[in-house]
């Protein structure tokens, strides 16, 4: 290894120097200009993550208002129209403006560093994709002020994040709030697609010498599969949205049942995108777990090649399960059985991953620093979310539970307990690399436990209220249904989660100014990003590294027993 050795170059480790390139002080505007015009994958990655966190706060506030309204029966805090807008914007924001950009942001930041490249394959395309995402996000939220409807028409989209037809037709959705929904997602979708092309080209073409495919960090594999899913799924959503736009703007009849259009077709097209989207949101988090878990267990990942196979397998099966979201529309026994079976099948490669992670921890020297806590929490909660997913894939159970709060509980276990916990683990793990300073571990543990307890309080009772029959997307309920206790507990969890987020924000602000200096490799890790300085210079590596195994830094630190001997 020929990169700068750890701690030997104090000037480089100084987080004040921007990107290790220069030490001169920049004014705020010079700094802002530099970030805006940047095509550096690291700056773009950090901007993705920062923008995603801002939208996360907005989406969280929307959820908090909904929980406030549902706290007790017949609460009159929020009117039904506003409630519809809240759950639409919450869902749309969390999927398209939080999950995707933060995960793509991590991919942007990490892929070149981890495969030993100096930048992405197409840096300018990368910047283009980022600004498209920002523009799409602003367009969606601009509907609150820019959308001028007819009398009584809503200002923000209110058709749910999946925008079922015919609710989206001109007849039922007047004004132009739905057009804002279409265009905002369309534009940010173009951003995701350019990013996916970049990921694939970078991973396949820009690896450093010796970085064979089967030596890549797990996260690179996960991102490769995610990029493939984006390339198949997002264009189908784009096509469906183009059709919807034609319906609304030019009087076409794609989805209008009154004029031979089919509302079911929209569901098929949407969920053909929508289910792979779930894996787009979870696979990068699987990648975080697969990187963090070995380092804090002091063991190489268990069953690397099986893990790769499982990831690719998930990628393929994920394309054939979409109609499990549609059991209640009456597809008939053949299609129902097919999609139920395909969904059961996908739990096999997912189960393989869980076992591999447990195998990695088994017999390891576990160290529960904050990243490890989040990752362990991830595994526990993802298993719960996965099991309720199998329940929902069982057709008769789905007929009972579909569109109830049970479903809300299920996918929040997957996307919050899974994806968001993975993201927090990743932030705590890679923050030192990106900034040169550690996040405070004690505050981090506060964040974890507050989020964990708040999360469980909010989402565990939803399974119960769902089984009791509480439907999704209702703005209120009557007192005698037995929902009150469970909804009260759900709402009590909200301030606990908010406290966790506040502690996290305080941690970031404090650590940026006076966090402990991280050095190049604070976790004693094994992947390439820890070989360069923290933060890395703009060119990533002074000399492009050469690797001989899947754990290049292990080989470097243990020249007497390199991994290469066992390959």
């Amino acid at each position: 290894m020929t990169t700068t050795p750890a701690h030997s170059d104090p000037a480089r480790s100084d987080p004040e120097s921007s990107g290790g390139a220069s030490t001169e002080r920049l004014t705020f505007w010079e700094e802002a200009t530099r970030w805006t015009l940047s095509v550096d994958h690291k700056k773009l990655g950090l901007m993705y993550i920062a923008a995603g966190l801002v939208f996360f706060l907005i989406g969280g506030v929307e959820a908090a208002f909904m929980r406030l309204q549902l706290m007790k029966a017949d609460a009159g805090i929020i009117d039904p129209e506003t409630f519809n807008q809240l759950f639409t914007m919450h869902g749309t924001t969390m999927v398209f403006l939080v999950g995707m950009p933060i995960l793509l942001g991590f991919g942007n930041y990490l892929i070149p560093l981890m495969v030993g490249a100096r930048d992405m394959a197409f840096p300018r395309l990368n910047a283009f994709g980022f600004w498209l995402f920002i523009f799409g996000g602003i367009l969606l939220y601009f509907s609150y002020i820019g959308s001028q409807g007819l009398y009584g028409a809503p200002s923000a989209p209110d058709v749910g994040w999946f925008a079922y037809a015919p609710l989206t037709s001109r007849t039922f959705s007047r004004g132009n709030s739905t057009d804002y929904w279409i265009l905002g997602i369309l534009v940010s979708g173009f951003g995701s697609m350019t990013t996916a092309i970049n990921f694939i080209a970078t991973i396949l073409c820009m690896r450093c010498p010796g970085m064979k495919l089967m030596r890549m960090p797990m996260i690179a594999w996960m991102m490769l599969v995610v990029a493939g899913l984006v390339l198949v799924a997002i264009p189908v959503l784009t096509a469906a949205q183009a059709m919807l736009l034609l319906d609304r703007s030019l009087g076409a009849h794609f989805f209008d049942p009154e004029t031979q259009g089919s509302a079911v077709l929209w569901q098929h097209l949407f969920w053909f995108f929508g289910h792979p989207e779930v894996y787009i949101l979870i696979l990068p988090a699987f990648g975080f777990v697969s990187e963090i878990l070995p380092v804090f267990s002091r063991k190489a990942i268990f069953g690397y090649s099986l893990m790769v196979a499982a990831t690719v397998g998930i990628g393929f099966i994920a394309l054939g399960v979409w109609a499990h979201h549609m059991f209640v529309i009456g597809m008939g026994p053949v299609l129902d059985s097919f999609f139920a079976a395909a969904t059961f099948l996908i739990s096999v490669p997912t189960g393989i991953k869980i076992f591999n992670w447990i195998g990695t921890m088994w017999g390891g020297r576990l160290r529960f620093a904050t990243p490890m806590l989040f990752v362990t929490g991830f595994i526990a909660m993802f298993v719960i979310g996965g099991l309720t997913g199998i329940m929902l894939a069982t057709v008769p159970m789905d007929w009972q539970l579909s569109d109830s709060y049970f479903v809300v509980g299920h996918f929040h276990y997957v996307l919050f307990g899974g994806t968001v916990f993975g993201i927090f683990g990743a932030i705590f793990y890679w923050f030192p690399k990106a900034t040169g300073r550690m996040l405070d571990d004690k505050l981090g543990k506060w964040t974890f436990w507050l989020l964990f307890i708040g999360f469980t309080l909010t989402f565990m009772p939803m399974h119960v209220s769902g089984v009791l029959g509480m439907p999704r997307r209702v703005y209120t309920y009557e007192a005698d249904r037995g929902f009150e206790l469970w909804n009260m507990i759900s709402t009590i969890g909200v301030p606990v989660q908010m406290a966790g987020i506040l502690v996290f924000l305080w941690n970031v602000v404090r650590s940026l100014r006076k966090g402990e200096i991280a050095g190049n490799d604070p976790w004693d890790a094994w992947t390439l990003e820890w070989a360069t300085t923290s933060p890395p210079p703009e060119w990533n590596f002074d000399r492009v590294p050469t690797v001989t195994s899947a754990r290049p830094l292990w080989d470097l630190k243990n020249p007497e027993d390199p991994d290469a001997h066992y390959e």
Binding site: M1, T2, T3, P5, A121, F122, M193, A196, I197, N198, I200, A201, T202, L204, C205, M206, R207, C208, P209, G210, A227, L231, V232, A233, I234, P235, V236, T238, A239, A240, A242, M243, L246, L250, G251, A252, H253, F254, T259, Q260, G261, S262, L265, L269, F272, T546, T548, L556, P559
Partner: protein
Amino acid sequence: MRTMSNEASVVMSATTTMPSRAKVGMASLIFMESAFFAAFLVTYLYYIGKSPDGPQPLDCLELGPVLFNSACLIASSVTVVFAVKSLARGAVGAFRLWMVVTILLGLEFLVGTGIEWRGLIEGKGLTLQSNAFGTTYYALVGFHAFHVAIGLLMLFGMLLLSLCGCINPKRDHMRVDIATWYWHFVDVVWIFVFTLVYIIGKVPQGGSL
């Protein structure tokens, strides 16, 4: 720290086999566009024979003109190969000539589609709003024509670059080759669209697949 330069020379040679990012990027773009068109093709298929009222495919779509347009588009896929081959030989003049021929053929396809559409709108009264057939027909053929236009812009851009002397045959012929993949893709999509719309889709009213 230990250097690995001795091993580096060995492994270096292995990395030269990594695919070119331009090829992978273009292939990904084409893959993505295929998914986009697949959605429209499936939608068209789904709505075949589901238009009880209004103009019907059997009465509206004539094979004659569209066969000529299709022949032009397919021929343009051949001429663009000649253009790339000429550039690889260093024959810049021949390259420009074949590019002009390709662009003219592509333009003919667009103009031909325009004429066909005018006939449909004015003669048969078929519009996007008529029925499911009109909706899916104009959307599918229209989005394809839109992609032909994008492809034409790319070809035209390369012709301009060549005219201003910015294309160096030795250095750039691979890039030009990769850019023309898109044109071939647009061509292949048309074969699918043509088969679906003008052959499979012309079932009598009431019949469905």
